[in-house]
């Protein structure tokens, strides 16, 4: 079940807005396509990114993928649990975020609702 | 984990040596290097006799494919 409490992108990231901040992660579809995740390159706390930047890298047994942000802002915290256990992203991609941003800019056009995202995946798989 | 090709370090035996040098033939001077620039622990290198090395690497070579065996399609 794709959680309805957050937004999604066509690059298979999710964004959960919490007031001024936003939690970012990857979707169930993304983790399944990647396979067993073995490493997550987290951004540095304090680093700033613009809309469309790659802010993290996820490495699985078969691929290395950039994770993009649909929001601009500053990283105020990262999920350090992923250092020791990158597989958390496979186990529960919606409970395990990658980073938290203090949002300064939002690319509204890039954001999809849960239904729109589900429809998008269905279309992609055709 | 099983292995039929022990590593160099696994075959190391204290005191074994695989080479030698002539004795130092100039007078030996002391205190040429200040104490704080010197390494003070034993070098962590394996101790093997020459024959140990030859057998180890011959064994490894027999687990490797080279051009003398057959052509290799991969390029550079």
């Amino acid at each position: 079940m794709t959680p309805a409490d957050r937004k999604y992108t066509k690059e298979h990231e999710w964004i959960l807005f919490l007031g001024e901040d936003a939690k970012l992660g990857i979707t169930a579809h993304a983790q399944e396509a990647l396979g067993d995740i073995v490493y997550v390159e987290l951004p540095a706390v304090g680093e700033t990114f613009e809309v469309g930047d790659s802010f993290a890298v996820v490495e699985s047994v078969k691929a290395v993928s950039n994770v993009y942000t649909a929001v601009g802002g500053e990283v105020i915290s990262v999920n350090e649990a992923l250092d020791e256990k990158p597989e958390l992203l496979n186990e529960d991609p919606y409970a395990n975020h990658i980073a938290v941003f203090r949002v300064s800019e939002i690319d509204d056009a890039a954001l999809l609702s849960a239904e729109e995202y589900d429809a998008f995946i269905l279309e992609e798989n055709k | 984990m099983r292995s039929t090709a022990p590593l160099l370090f696994e075959q190391s035996r204290p005191g074994r040596r695989g080479s030698d040098l002539p004795l130092l033939d100039v007078p030996k001077l002391d205190n040429l290097i200040p104490e704080d620039l010197l390494g003070n622990s034993k070098l962590r290198l394996p101790e093997l006799a020459e024959v140990d090395l030859i057998r180890h690497y011959t064994r490894l070579s027999r687990r490797n494919f080279g051009l003398y065996i057959s052509m290799q399609p991969p390029g550079c």
Binding site: - | A5, L7, S19, L29, I33, L37, G39, E50, L53, Y57
Partner: protein, 444 residues
Amino acid sequence: MRSYVPNTSEERQAMLEAIGLSKMEELFIDIPIEARLKRELSLDKGKSELEIRRHIQSLVGNAGDLPLFRGAGAYRHYIPAVVKAITSRSEFYTSYTPYQAEMSQGMLQSIFEYQTLMCELTGFDASNASVYDGGTACAEAMVMLRSATRKTKVLCSSGLHPEYLEILRTYARFTGFSLVELPLTKEGVTDIKALEENAEGAAGVIIQSPNFFGCIENFKSAADLIHAKNGLLVAAVNPISLGLLVRPGDAGADICVGEGQPLGLALSAGGPYLGIMTAKQKLMRSLPGRIVGQTEDSEGNRAFVLTLQGREQHIRREKAASNICSNQSLCALSAAVYLSAMGPKGLKEVAEQCLQKAHYLKEGILAIPKMRSRFEAPFFHEFVIESEISSAKLNKGLRKRGFIGGLPLSRYYKGDEGILYCATEANSRNELDEFLNALEVCAK
């Protein structure tokens, strides 16, 4: 004249016919006629193996056998016979890159052992499978500094080998680094005050020890200073010197690079050599080049594979840690055999003999009138001597008497008549004494 291609013209004809062609030219029809070469290549007739041997021999002469008193980044050391015996096995020297693990376990294990030896020798957690040479390793370490700290200001000592400095400058100029070169003190080591003054905002500092002029640097003080400003220390080393000196990992360095030529590789007119790179665990993923890892096969046996390939360009393209996608397997193998043949006692002995013989040589040279020492810092096996006599004149005289003298610094530093001398365990007492006699005559 035979060809290296074994197939005879009859065999080639049969192959052409098998694919429905009759002439070799038909294989090239996709190349437009205008672009095709319409004549024979303007090359000399081929030579037989014997003629080539004679020709090369006439070029080399006896230079390779003369007593040698220079180093400057590449050194003549005693190479135990076992090194060549092992690296001459065709399974090692004709094998391809070990991408196909199942047919490369021998080479993969030997590289894994090499990596382990490098970690133990230098005092670090991770090593790559090597890069081309010390200079490349140095430049790649500079790139690592940026990916680790995201800063582009890099400090480096002017005590680095001038060729390493040139490589760093080239990399810096074209990839957006700002390189700050720190001067040496009059004792001959990196000016620590200059390091302190420039450390703010620096990704790190690169220091070589023993430095190009032979002087031993203090990694610990440099490490403390640069760490205080959130920068990292890259230690460039001579692996033989580690038979005596403190390991850079123990002295606080974060990355170690070095020229591995002294470990069982002949001088060989400049190469192939061996770029050593080791680093602390946290920097492992920004190490460039190949890394061999240990794993288990489907039957539970230990096996080896190329690993962490996510750093490499065939996976990450422009986001790769580096464009280097090669290593020096056979040279790394030579280094591993050399170190294993020497063992801890042997390497210590080699380093000790280098130290003692170089000090003996320096004392002997300073006893000759007009000769002066340039630097007073403690040194390992190289040192600079000045005099009023031109270095070219001295070396010419020495060459006439059958010796290859020290390196004229004018090779790298215009107008500098100083000479960089070196002695290793390969210089016998006899050789040293005869050299000193010859030098005294030439210096008159």
